[in-house]
Amino acid sequence: MNESEKKLLRQLACKVRLGIIEGVYNAGSGHPGGSLSAADIYTYLYFKEMNIDPQNPRDPDRDRFVLSKGHTCPGLYSVLALRGYFDSGELKKLRKVGAMLQGHPDMKGTPGVDMSSGSLGQGISAACGMAMAGKMDNKTYRVYTLLGDGECEEGQVWEACMFAAHHKLDNLCVIVDCNGLQIDGPVEEVGGIEPLDKKLEAFGFEVFKIDGHSFDEIDEAFAKARATKGKPSAIIAKTTKGKGVSFMENQVGWHGAAPNDEQYATAIKELNEMLTGLEAE
């Protein structure tokens, strides 16, 4: 990946973050922390990694994405709007009566959403089903699913991991957004999922541990995942919850809260300054 491509991705990620704040602020509720932590991964997937066409969101040969940590859909919606699946004006109607953008992803109502999700642990199973269908039909598409680290406390995640390895789903890439925080506090205090890499390896995955905010590392990990044959791959992305908005970073309270007017203005100012800085580079 060359420098100009990386610079563009950084700018796009900044715009994705602006969309997240816009959506959650206008909704008056939602989940900014985990949306912001995964913003760089969303950006990379939809602007670099995945074979998709916003004009043909149901193309049977497209790559698929399942947001298993469905509550962080403000991030998904923001990147989908930026990629041209629907008008960005929809973000301001997030969570409102009659809105296209529901509080958790609804595949029936939102172009670009490949699976309804939100109940933790379920998305990864659906992703396994999509990967399985691809294998059965000799298709070359790939399936990506994004999980939270707290989500890995759900038993179904591990049922799905066993299934993916048993069926050698090398067209499946599981990404875990390890932002370290869940509703009740730090993941290691609440549930305790470590050592996640060893667990996933033991379950039959090829595992890559990266800094989830470094596009160099993201780029390298997805390339290695694509090259992995005979087994599924997992990218453990260490991230900062609330990344990009100073007062939200590493604060458990921003898991599921909307900014007030003042906080909104601060967040937008910070992100706009960051974007201006990147554009001036």
Partner: protein, 315 residues
């Protein structure tokens, strides 16, 4: 006249889904380590490449089925009713029904006729659970021929379906060579009569049929309606029966709460208030024992249905 076949509906299902799969290449079957019991083993033998054993992980199996359905497959996802509707309830609701995916949830070994395995495996709550899930179609076939038709219909309709199967062998009474026609969402009048109406489903239909036939000899003309589709329910056939015969008895191998009886009551309460006697499992757990003996103890047999009809007529 079609041959009388004495088979458990689970076995008929295994045959039926295999037959349907010959016509429709999109059909795939999933099981959770119970292929020998749910009889998906019949399918597995003929279509090993379209059979997915998910191991003992029902929640994941339902989710995998949902993913397959988004890619155009028609998954029949089978396990015991207890696990399909019970353990994986939320996966059925959120991963299948909410996104309105074309997945067929197959709940085998439903009701107390599981027999010796006892209460942990005798699911008498599945119809109630599935009835409350929006978008869900519920089919509970009564004999071999009905199961064959039900599977065809389930494969054709682009809706999530819950299909209930039994473990115990039942003698067939529907005759495809003699007027039997399966229509999703339509009840079938198996016996005409204006004295009283019996509405039965699944395994209990054959017992109810024997009961009303026997009572005919004593001059009692009971109407018998087979409700194979519990949702969407054939409201018209129920309201018509209430208007023409008055009193209604429902018979099902399910908790009297939440099942066919409650579904009938809710239609009649709104449309034509009528006294309904619900025969079923009286809000209690079952226990181990031979299936036939248990069905007698729980009153889901010909003799008790006859007794209850007489009691109701004497009121």
């Amino acid at each position: 006249m079609a041959e009388m076949i004495k088979k458990a509906t689970r076995e008929s299902f295994g045959m039926a889904v295999t037959m349907a799969a010959r016509e429709n290449p999109d059909i795939v079957v999933l099981d959770a380590d119970l292929a020998a019991a749910t009889k998906t083993s019949i399918f597995k033998k003929e279509f090993p490449d379209r059979f997915i054993d998910c191991g003992i992980a029902e929640s994941n199996m339902v989710g995998v089925s949902a993913g397959l359905a988004t890619c155009g497959k028609i998954p029949f996802c089978a396990t015991f009713a207890m696990f399909a509707a019970g353990r994986a309830f939320e996966q059925v609701r959120n991963s299948v029904a909410y996104p309105h995916l074309n997945v067929k949830i197959v709940g085998s070994h439903a009701g107390i006729s599981v027999g010796e395995d006892g209460a942990t495996h005798q699911c008498c709550e599945d119809i109630g659970l599935m009835r409350t899930v929006p978008n869900m179609v519920i089919i509970n076939p009564a004999d071999h021929y009905e199961m064959i038709e039900a599977v065809k219909a389930a494969a054709e309709v682009k809706e999530p379906v819950y299909l209930r199967l039994g473990r115990l062998a039942v003698e067939s009474f529907n005759d495809p060579d003699n007027g039997y026609k399966f229509e999703l969402g339509k009840g079938i009048t198996l016996h005409k009569g204006d004295d009283i109406t019996v509405i039965a489903t699944g395994l209990c239909v054959s017992e109810a049929l024997k009961a009303v036939n026997n009572l005919e000899k004593e001059g009692i003309n009971a109407r018998l309606i087979n409700i194979h589709t519990i949702k969407p329910l054939d409201r018209d056939i129920i309201i018509k029966a209430a208007k023409e015969t008055g009193r209604i008895i429902t018979v099902e191998e399910h908790n009297v709460m939440g099942g066919l009886g409650d579904a009938v009551c809710s239609v009649l309460a709104e449309e034509y208030p009528t006294a309904v006697r619900k025969l079923g499992v009286e809000d209690r757990f079952g226990y181990s024992g031979p299936a036939k003996e248990l069905l007698e103890i729980f009153g889901l047999c010909q003799s008790n249905i006859e007794k209850v009809i007489k009691e109701e007529l004497s009121k």
